[in-house]
């Protein structure tokens, strides 16, 4: 595998093998567009399953219960607060999770003691979380506020770094794609959204951009001397960049997903719920989507935008014209497509290759 991946990398680098990702961008835009619409429809129709942190409510968690029978908890709650209908679930092997609506602050203390009694554990083993009804709105507002400021700053940083606002626009477009896609998956599957999930979503922002910046950096490098050559168009060179960073993208995704999968696995199977699972689930989905978008969305989007720049438009027209007239030195593959690849440098051919002095 290592051997294959490295050789595949060689082929991609030299241009021997090329995936016309940028050229087929209409296809990827269509796929992503459909997914985006589906995500929006899902969000509007089904909506997200919000945790108590956003809705307000009370949650009790009993650890290490010897007999984790949900009925016990239901009974305790019915006695203490008859108006509330408890939602009881079992986490892992012997933890009990009880969710009810907003209750008086003092009551939570009493219920804690009663639950400890009922499950025959010490009061220290029972935790609770009580969230006021306005708090969730506050948390959500803060997250949105942070998101907007982050986007503005990032757009500025990327524009300055790449000296092209269209790159920033494409990066943020890819970012929006990732977020919407991830949130759409949450709406579809019905995973609960907690503050930890929001942490995950926000991290996706950073990760998605990080990934995109790496690919864009290669695009920039490949196209630095764009107008000084007349072999390849901007589109082709950008596509080469995507191909050349493909191995890195795959390696990076695998390496980033490995620890996240570890948390997800431990979080879901050993703990059942909680911060770890919520964060890692959001990250897992988001990182996978992020890798997809940095390859299939970000660069194609960037190319579509930049093809509108007059300088690049002119250059593309010139290259294509030269190609038609055959006035340009490019290699072609068997199927007639132009080979776009890295430089194969010349090498020393020995003294035999040196010019000889003509004998007089």
């Amino acid at each position: 595998m290592a051997m294959n991946l490295a050789q595949w990398g060689n082929a991609l680098h030299s241009g021997e093998k090329t995936y016309p990702i940028v050229q087929q961008r209409k296809r990827w835009f269509l796929i992503s567009g459909i997914l985006m619409v589906a995500a929006i429809v899902l969000l509007l129709v089904k909506g997200l399953t919000l945790g108590i942190d956003f809705e307000g409510g009370t949650q009790f968690q009993v650890s290490n219960a010897s007999d984790p029978d949900p009925a016990i908890a239901t009974e305790v709650i019915e006695n203490a607060v008859p108006d509330e209908v408890p939602e009881v679930s079992i986490l892992g092997t012997n933890d009990v999770l009880v969710q009810i609506g907003v209750i008086e602050q003092e009551q939570s203390q009493e219920i804690t003691a009663e639950l400890a009694d009922a499950y025959d554990v010490s009061a220290d083993e029972v935790g609770f979380t009580q969230i006021g009804p306005t708090w969730g709105a506050e948390v959500g507002k803060k997250a949105v506020q942070g998101l907007i400021i982050f986007l503005i700053l990032v757009a500025a940083v990327i524009s300055i770094y790449f000296r092209a606002w269209r790159m920033a626009a494409a990066a943020i477009g890819a970012l929006a794609h990732d977020l919407l896609f991830t949130v759409g998956i949450y709406a579809l599957v019905g995973f609960e959204v907690t503050p930890a999930t929001v942490i995950g979503f926000l991290t996706i922002l950073g990760y998605s951009l990080y990934d995109t910046v790496v690919v864009f950096d290669k695009v920039k490098e490949n196209t630095t001397h764009l107008t000084e050559q007349n072999r390849y168009t901007y589109e082709e060179l950008a596509n080469l960049a995507v191909n050349q960073t493909l191995v890195r993208s795959i390696n990076t995704s695998v390496v980033a997903l490995l620890p996240v999968s570890a948390i997800l696995f431990i979080g879901s199977f050993l703990l059942g719920a909680g911060t770890l699972k919520d964060i890692s689930l959001a990250l897992f989905v988001g990182m996978a989507v992020g890798t997809y978008s940095s390859i299939f969305v970000a660069t194609p989007l960037e190319v579509s935008l930049r093809m509108r720049e007059p300088r690049i438009k002119e250059h593309t027209a010139m290259v294509l014209k030269l190609r038609e007239t055959g006035d340009v030195d490019v290699a072609h593959k068997a199927d007639g497509s132009v080979v776009v690849g890295a430089l194969t440098p010349g090498r020393h051919l020995g003294t035999q290759a040196q010019p000889r002095r003509k004998k007089k």
């Binding site: 804690t112 506050e138 620890p259 948390i263 770890l276 776009v340 194969t344």
Partner: protein, 641 residues
């Protein structure tokens, strides 16, 4: 060449020194018993109670950070006084986060949730801070120190001339408020026996005080209970200075001075915070209009408050010391007990004394805070059982270990011996992060939360990516035919930019998250930002130097199959070793554009071939004649410019 090697060594030494310093500082901390090796754990891992409170003002006034700090100060005093150890109270504007370890009872929670109250009471008796059992009731230092304090303020007293921009009258800060009393002053306060001392210890009031009827300055308020309480009160004990009960508003009360070592018996509450509309501090001007270097506190009253205040001052100005003072109490402790010389009308007043700028500002802030009708809304209340926290931490660590092992296996698989560099870098990054977190836990009380642990685990992937970007870059340069030395050199220049750019975005995300998020998100953002910085440090001071040094070894330099730089794998038979020493490469790359041996033709070869093919034609038509079928090209664009 050797300078490169030298600078690489230097970087490694720097890194070693940095790590050594971090761990030495930590070891000193552990040795002196002021910290532990492991970082302090957040509430969600160690177990405990966390409350998030939002202060709310009824009249819609904006709450400032200063108010929030003041509220936290008061909560901290109360909680400390109640004996709950290691409580942490912090502000995240506009919220207050209270973390209490263990399983605190409702009484402790109520301590935090109660709002503070500002009370104005007339002083009846003032004495030294120690219990009167050992030291008989001493009256305030009204004689000794006042001589100094009164003098400057006496000159200021005539200031109520109409010309004064503020039509306010001066109050004179009681002498005991003089800053920095020497310890000797506390243990042996200047006792000047005063008429007021007489009724306190022995005399039992003849008549029972009647709320609302008895004169608030009457000694009748000193009931036997109050007298006994006063005698026993030790105001040198911090427990008594803060968070004491507010007393019954309609009856006499005993309290300690919060900044000065003194205790007071006071009459019923005559004014509260609602009567105060504002407070500020500023430099004190003498009558001559010059600055004397001291500061004063200005109080503004509401219309109703101003009337009440005029009534109080008019009454007590006539009385003997210390009954000519009124006590300003915040949260059960006397902030200040200024002396009144005349009736103060006009809705505002100044407290003067030997205030420094900070003291005046602090008092003004306390007054301002006391004037706010604050109530606290409990936004979130969480009790985490210690067992659950421990379980979560353990699982988090297991997940981290599994993640690390998987990353290690994958990088060994992908990069062979180079994977060891990744592992080394990750270990160094881990060591530095651990030390920094432990030190922060010691220095600024940072607590590692579960979200923080998640941030660390996620960082494994992001840190490893820096190495992947760099290694892939080196491979690209090798593919282009460079020697390993120059490949590392060129790759570093390019990869450095990419790593810095992407880390900058990561850091930006972390900073924004930290600034704008609440609760657990912050813990995550903190570790994410920290590890991003550590990542840059490690890549610059470890990964790159070590690669430079390794590039010089035979194993890597010659491209051993296990080194991760195997030229065969990278599509070249051998590497250029410098000084014209090369072997015949026979890489396969572009089909249809290769020479007889299957290798791509170089520009020179193509030109030669073109020239040969176009023999009859003029020589300069080399490029034009390069038909696609006969003259394949494989050179890339940017190399050709």
């Amino acid at each position: 060449m050797s300078t490169v090697k030298k600078s690489a060594r230097k970087s490694l030494i720097w890194l070693g020194a940095l790590t050594a310093v971090l761990y030495t500082v930590l070891a000193i901390g552990v040795g002196t018993g002021s910290t532990t090796w492991a970082p302090g754990l957040g509430l969600d891992l160690a177990g405990g109670r966390q409350l998030i409170l939002t202060p709310e003002v009824d009249n819609g006034v904006e709450i400032t950070q200063t108010d929030l700090d003041q509220a936290v100060e008061i909560m901290r005093n109360r909680v400390d006084a109640s004996g709950v150890a290691e409580a942490e109270i912090s502000t995240q504007y506009p919220n207050i986060v209270v973390s209490l370890p263990g399983n605190p009872d409702q009484a402790t929670i109520d301590l935090v949730r109660q709002s503070a109250q500002l009370q104005f009471r007339a002083v009846l008796v003032e004495g030294s801070a120690t219990p009167t059992a050992t030291e008989p009731v001493a009256s305030p230092s009204a004689e000794a120190s006042p001589a100094e304090v009164v003098a400057p303020s006496a000159s200021a007293a005539p200031s109520p001339s109409p010309s004064a921009s503020q039509a306010s009258l001066s109050l004179f800060q009681e002498a005991t408020d003089e800053p920095a009393p020497s310890p000797s002053l506390i243990s042996a306060p200047v006792p000047s026996v005063d008429a007021s001392a007489v009724p306190t210890d022995t005399t039992v009031p003849v008549t029972e005080p009647v709320p609302g009827e008895t004169d608030p300055s009457s000694f009748d308020w000193i009931t036997p209970e109050i007298s006994a309480e006063y005698a026993q009160l030790n105001c040198l004990d911090p427990v008594n200075i803060s968070g004491r009960d507010l007393g019954e508003a309609d009856y006499g009360h005993v309290a300690c001075g919060s900044t000065t070592p003194a205790k007071y018996i006071m009459g019923p509450v005559e004014m509260t915070g609602t009567d105060l509309s504002g407070a500020s501090s500023g430099p004190h001007y003498t009558t001559a209009g010059t600055l004397d270097g001291t500061y004063q506190v200005n109080m503004e009253f509401t219309a109703e408050g101003g009337a009440k205040f005029a009534e109080i001052t008019g009454r007590i100005a006539q009385l003997e010391a210390p009954r000519n003072q009124f006590a300003i109490m915040l949260d059960g402790a006397v902030l200040s007990a200024p002396r009144v010389q005349q009736s103060i009308t006009g809705g505002s007043a100044q407290i003067t004394g030997n205030f420094t700028q900070e003291e005046a500002a602090q008092l003004a802030n306390q007054l301002k805070f006391g004037a706010l009708p604050l109530t606290f809304t409990v936004q979130s209340d969480e009790q985490i059982s210690a067992t659950l926290g421990a379980e979560q931490l353990q699982s988090g660590l297991i997940a981290g270990a599994i993640g690390l092992v998987l990353v290690v296996i994958y990088s060994l698989f992908q990069y062979r011996a180079l994977g060891l560099v990744t592992i080394g870098s990750l270990i160094i990054a881990g060591l530095i992060s651990f030390a920094v977190i432990s030190l922060l836990s010691w220095g600024i009380g940072y607590r590692l939360s579960l979200a923080g642990v998640a941030g660390l685990i996620v960082a494994i992937g992001i840190t490893a990516d820096s190495f992947i970007v760099y290694f892939e870059r080196v491979r690209d340069e090798l593919r282009e035919g460079r020697s390993l030395h120059s490949a590392i050199d060129h790759a570093w220049k390019r990869a450095r930019r990419t790593i810095l750019a992407s880390d900058a975005v990561s850091l930006l995300a972390a900073v924004v998250l930290y600034t704008f998020a609440v609760g657990g998100v912050r813990g995550f953002a903190f570790t994410l930002g920290l590890t991003t910085l550590v990542d840059i440090l490690v890549v610059f001071l470890f990964t790159h130097p070590i690669l430079v040094l390794l590039g010089r070894t035979k194993f890597f330099g010659d491209g051993h199959p296990m080194s991760g730089f195997d030229p065969k794998q990278l599509g070249r038979d051998t590497m250029y070793k410098g000084r014209g020493r090369v072997a015949s490469p026979s890489a396969k790359s572009v089909s249809g554009s290769t020479g007889a041996d299957g290798s791509p033709l170089t520009l020179a070869e193509r030109k030669a071939a073109a020239a040969k093919a176009a023999q009859p034609a003029p020589a300069d038509s080399a490029d034009d004649g390069a038909s696609d079928a006969t003259d394949p090209a494989s050179a890339s664009a940017e190399g050709e410019k």
